[in-house]
């Protein structure tokens, strides 16, 4: 539990409300905002995401103070979590519809999942295998399935950026991280017990 403020970034993307609801339910101090002063005051920042890479980046640039966000996250090292497309935009580049520039906070690119015979999007409950132990997985025991909805995945340039991989026709990054920055490909806000545990672990990050 933290007394700090969690800022859920509001940039005109979907499911902001469900991320807010679950954090509130967990007893955290949370605000939905895209304002500079809230981002500066927050102890933790979460970027939810539904939609395509290019659209998410475009909406972020239109609605968020990008320089301030970069100062807080990359400059000052404030804990940051990107969810689904919010994770994918951490990469340098994305190839959904057309090539788009990402935030470039974790080196890599985003491409279509090679699911073989399995249909896309990958929708439903799936588990992952932890490759690099990290406090974000603390207390994760028997209930470890998460809810995924995506067709694209994060190819990290550096192996050590991938903390866990899931399997859907191929192994892909389920959790990425670099320093204070985390990304979840699944939706913790829709993943009941397991998702709430990981969100609480994120909020414990200093």
């Amino acid at each position: 539990m933290t007394n700090g403020l969690i800022c859920v970034l509001d940039y005109g993307s979907g499911n902001v409300r469900s991320v807010y609801n679950v954090l509130k339910h967990l007893g955290h101090n949370v605000m939905v905002s895209g304002e500079e002063k809230v981002i500066k005051n927050a102890s933790h920042i979460i970027l939810p995401g539904v939609g395509s890479f290019g659209t998410a980046m475009k909406k972020m640039k239109e609605n968020l103070p990008m320089q301030c966000l970069e100062n807080e996250v990359v400059g000052k090292g404030k804990p940051f979590l990107g969810i689904c497309v919010g994770m994918q935009v951490l990469a340098d580049k994305g190839y959904e519809f057309e090539e788009s520039e990402g935030l470039g906070w974790i080196s890599g690119s985003v491409r279509k999942l090679r699911s073989g015979d399995l249909s896309l999007p990958h929708v439903g409950w799936n588990d992952f295998l932890v490759e690099t132990p990290d406090p974000i997985f603390n207390s994760l025991k028997e209930h470890r399935d998460f809810y995924y909805v995506h067709s694209f995945c994060f190819d990290a340039c550096h192996e050590e950026s991938v903390l866990a991989r899931a399997d859907y026709g191929e192994k892909f990054a389920a959790v990425v991280s670099k320093d204070n920055i985390y990304g979840f490909q699944f939706h913790p806000e829709k993943s009941q017990r397991a998702g709430q545990l990981l969100l609480n672990n994120f909020v414990m990050q200093k």
């Binding site: 979907g14 499911n15 409300r17 469900s18 609801n21 679950v22 339910h25 939609g51 015979d117 399995l118 249909s119 896309l120 999007p121 990958h122 929708v123 439903g124 409950w125 799936n126 588990d127 028997e142 209930h143 399935d145 809810y147 909805v149 067709s151 399997d167 859907y168 806000e189 829709k190 993943s191 009941q192 017990r193 998702g195 709430q196």
Partner: protein
């Protein structure tokens, strides 16, 4: 590995949860907000809400259980999504892209289209482009006649020209994410799924198929997975009658080696 799902269906009629039999007789089962708490505590994989009201009057007269009175389906969905942390699908009375948009805005993750798929498949294609495949489920209501299964529209009242597998294929080609196949004959009968009907669909499409209609015993669920190869099983009535129903059903499946999430009871 991706898991098979167990999905409670909640039928809402004028703001109340109802039990349905043969798509025609309905019995009142109570308040949707009280029920969603139970379905969450039993760790359902998703919930499907279907609005089967006959007109647009919603009446939650009983105010004695400490839950708000809601007279509008969208308000109910909003309340439900505030207290549950799993995917929600919403269906019933969706005729336009703005109908879809307002449901997603109210907290739904996916929508379930029925009559639209029969009457205007171009509109379904537009919905897929606008909101993504993952967001659009087509539900097919089927009934067996002298010439095999036929698709029915308008809440099971009108027979169409389609055989279920034809409509399923059209839906898949239009880019929809999943098919929910429901047997009108089995609705409320408790005699198990219409396995032949489910097979007809799973054999003709490669997108996930959700089977519905006829469950009264836990082994009916594993029958559908094992004999028809569905991706998910859905049921309505049984989940409202038995305490810890979802948990017990999942435990049965898990113990019998079906690839489902480990059963869980969550304290809310």
């Amino acid at each position: 590995m991706k898991k098979n799902r167990l999905i409670p269906v909640v039928l809402l009629r004028n703001g109340w949860i109802v039990q349905s039999k043969g798509f025609s007789s309905y019995q009142n089962l109570g308040n949707p907000i009280a029920s969603v708490k139970r379905l969450s505590e039993w760790a359902s994989d998703e919930i499907i809400y279907l609005d089967i009201s006959t007109d647009d009057k919603y009446d939650l007269r009983r105010d004695d259980q400490g839950y708000k009175n809601r007279d509008n389906f969208l308000d109910i969905i909003r309340d439900v999504s505030d207290v549950t942390f799993m995917p929600i699908t919403v269906g019933g009375k969706i005729r336009s892209l703005s109908d879809i948009e307002i449901r997603l805005y109210s907290g739904a993750d996916k929508v379930c289209l029925n009559t639209m798929a029969i009457e205007d498949i171009k509109l379904v294609e537009s919905a897929v482009r606008e909101f993504g495949s993952q967001c659009i489920i087509i539900s097919i209501d089927a009934k067996e006649g002298p010439n095999g299964h036929k698709v029915f529209s308008h809440g099971g009242k009108r027979e169409t020209k389609f055989e279920p597998h034809e409509l399923a294929t059209i839906a898949e080609n239009s880019g929809v994410g999943e098919i929910l196949i429901n047997s009108i004959d089995r609705d409320g009968q408790g005699t198990g799924y219409d396995i032949q009907l489910l097979q007809q669909i799973t054999n003709s499409v490669s997108i996930p198929v959700i089977g519905c209609g006829g469950v009264s015993e836990w082994h009916h669920f594993s029958d559908a997975f094992e004999q028809a190869g569905v991706d998910a099983v859905a049921a309505a009535n049984i989940f409202h009658y038995v305490d810890q129903s979802v948990f017990l059903a999942k435990k049965y499946l898990f113990d019998n080696g079906v690839n489902v999430r480990k059963p869980d009871l969550i304290k809310l």
